[in-house]
Amino acid sequence: MEKTYAGQAISTNEQGYLTDLNQWNRDIGTEIAKEEDIEMTDRHWEVIEYLQDQYRKEVPLSVRKVGKSNVVSIKEFYQLFPKGPLKISSRIAGIPKPVSCI
């Protein structure tokens, strides 16, 4: 599928996750965040950068791992992305939907 974010054609899967992180930039992330009713702050971006970094290192993500990362506590992670922290932050970050149950 193709969607237009920040004036660019971006390829996504059916659930709206980017299929190629190379196409991502902050403007695109901001527009996806708007779709999720999230106003991005510096704290949000710090988490997003961490997630992208982990994805590039091929580390599978879980809420537990994010909580242990010293980047953000689990409580704050939920405050930043209330409707599903890992799922929504991954979408904004332009990485695939995580498969973890934890």
Partner: protein
């Protein structure tokens, strides 16, 4: 072939979907398999943006009793999932052995120990309630229970909290 009764499930698919808003889980057993099933369902709900609450009753209270929660075991007797004969399951050390095996497999899957899992649940906003009647029965005070506990409730209180559309109750 004309008289085939239409599946009621098919008809339901046509109506608009109503997502679950809240999961109310009742944990009544503190074998490790039951506790993890409950915690994973509660945590999974929060990860999807669904509210969740757990009511710890009867032996389920052990999962939030400070001194007991890290010593929960898997049942090797009367547990068909173990695939070992009851007699063997009852041998000394079997429970401890099976529990150790299970815990190491859990850790490989990034599933935390019970105490850490409770901290994750509390941080996620899952409400943790102890059952008043069960506490009276086991002569337990609140100070014996985890600090993250949200309070002690009667069954009626718990049902009251389940009010609202699209709430699911589940007994484990």
């Amino acid at each position: 072939m004309e008289n085939i009764v239409e599946s009621p499930i098919k008809q339901k698919e046509d109506t608009s979907k109503k997502p679950i808003k809240k999961m109310m889980l009742i944990l009544s057993k503190a074998t490790i398999d039951n506790v993890y099933a409950c915690f994973i369902l509660a945590n999974g709900a929060r990860m999807e943006g669904i509210e969740s609450e757990i009511f710890f009753t009867f032996f389920g209270l052990e999962a939030i009793t400070k001194k007991k929660l890290e010593h929960l075991r898997v049942a090797t007797v009367g547990n068909p999932g173990m695939h070992i004969p009851t007699m063997v399951g009852g041998l000394p050390g079997m429970e401890a052995f099976a529990t150790k095996m299970m815990k190491s497999e859990m850790e490989k899957l990034d599933i935390p120990p019970v105490g850490e899992f409770l901290e994750i649940l509390a941080a996620s906003g899952t409400k943790l309630w102890a059952c008043k009647l069960a506490m009276d029965m086991f002569h337990l005070n609140e100070d014996k229970l985890i600090d993250d506990l949200d309070g002690v409730l009667t069954v009626g209180d718990f049902y009251n909290r389940a009010q609202g559309d699209n709430t699911q109750l589940m007994f484990i």
